[in-house]
Amino acid sequence: MRVPAGGDPARSGEFALVAEDSLEGLLGQVAKGDQRAFEQVYERVAAPVYGIVRRVLRDPAQSEEIAQEVMLEIWRQAARFSVERGSALSWVMTIAHRRAVDRVRTEAAASARTARALWQDNRTEYDQVAEQVEVRLEQERVRRCLESLTDLQRESVDLAYYGGYTYREVGELLGVALGTVKTRLRDGLIRMRDCLGVAR
């Protein structure tokens, strides 16, 4: 798996040509119905997609279902991807995270989440992926950057993004005013952006 396709397109700037084997280039081919290009897209994004969905939903069965929907959505919507609106990886991960969050916010799924899976330990699986050097480096970078945040920034980002909670729920959980959560989420992510070197 080649995860860090992530940072690269963003870093290369908006005037860069889209290389054919970049995720952007592959999506362009997928948009024209190229199933082999889609297989390559799958290889690159399936683990991040499944990972973030699983992180938010916890429940393996639901996560698999949503990950499958996300992959099909990528196939279906490939022609709607536009480099002007961000990198391909951003686009994919936004679809994945939003789908997971939408599922969480339906009541039925919420109860399944708490009942079944809240206490599950995913450590073994994390270690499996972490065998791959690129992923481990990326995880390490993200972990280090998260540590550079203030406690309130980190908790806000963690609960909102990995927890799939709305900022209102985050405010409730942390016992802070809604305005504070909004600004902590924003300045926390801005600090993460700068720490991770995401292109301006």
């Binding site: 889609f38 799958y42 990972g51 099909l72 919507q77 022609a79 536009s82 909670y165």
Partner: protein, 253 residues
């Protein structure tokens, strides 16, 4: 606009806005270029947070996904007759092909209506449509929408005006037809809206034909939508409706 809304870029990029606020913020985004840049950067940032959570996908997922794509039709590129964020003339070529699609789709829509005996289609409209069909008989997309096995029709009359929707849930598309809408002054236009869970989204401008019916319009992303609506807007269209709808047709259930 509430100055505070600019601070929502973080919550938006983390998908932490409740549905209603997401809609409001997306509306704001269309007008706030600086917010758009910041959202893009923060989404690139959250994407890396997501990547850091990568897990090996379950065995079998790949095969199921690859088998499934053979059965999932892809959406075409977004051709917006009225760009949602701005009004520009540069979309002209795509607009033409879009109109071609629309006209073709509607030809068949009309046949279905006629066959269904709904009495919505007037003789004049059928004449117009058969002319269109003749002209466009070779067009590739012929039958695309109406060939869908789940195509359904709904219709509403309000005063003199009648609006009809032919929709396919599977294809996520609908054709909108109307007759009896009054002519609008040159500085105004009719605009079609898809009213979905996140509010109205423009489905383009409606041109009024000679026979008093609007040129058939294809609306996409209708799967989750409740209805289609027509409003009068300033020439060139609006990003969001600025007047009350003259016609509002529920999508067939």
């Amino acid at each position: 606009m509430n100055a505070d809304i600019h601070t929502l870029t973080g919550a938006y990029a983390a998908n932490a806005l409740p549905a209603d606020e997401r809609v409001d913020f997306e509306r704001h985004l269309r007008m706030c270029e600086a917010c758009g840049d910041e959202v893009r950067e923060l989404q690139a940032t959250t994407a890396l947070l997501g990547v850091a959570a990568a897990l090996p996908p379950p065995p079998g997922l790949r095969e199921r996904v690859l088998a499934e794509i053979g059965r999932v039709r892809q959406l075409g590129p977004e051709l917006r007759p009225v760009p949602r964020d701005q009004t520009s003339e540069s979309g002209l070529p795509s607009r033409i092909s879009r109109w071609t699609r629309r006209a073709v789709a509607v030809g068949i829509a009309a046949l279905v209506l006629a066959a269904a005996g709904l009495g919505v289609v007037t003789y004049q409209q059928r004449q117009d449509i058969s002319q269109l069909e003749d002209a466009l008989a070779g067009a590739r997309d012929l039958g695309d929408l109406l060939a869908a096995p789940d195509v359904k029709v709904s219709s509403v009359t309000s005063g003199e005006a009648t609006g009809t929707v032919v929709a396919s849930e599977q294809r996520d598309e609908a054709v909108f037809l109307s007759s009896g809408l009054p002519a609008v002054p040159a500085d105004k236009t009719y605009q079609l809206w898809v009213i979905g869970p996140s509010g109205p989204a423009s489905a383009g401008l409606l041109a009024l034909g000679e026979s008093g019916s609007t040129v058939p319009a294809l609306a996409t992303d209708t799967g989750q939508a409740q209805s289609l609506a027509v409003t009068v807007e300033p020439a060139g269209g609006s990003p969001q409706p600025t007047t009350q709808p003259l016609l509002m047709v529920e999508l067939p259930a």
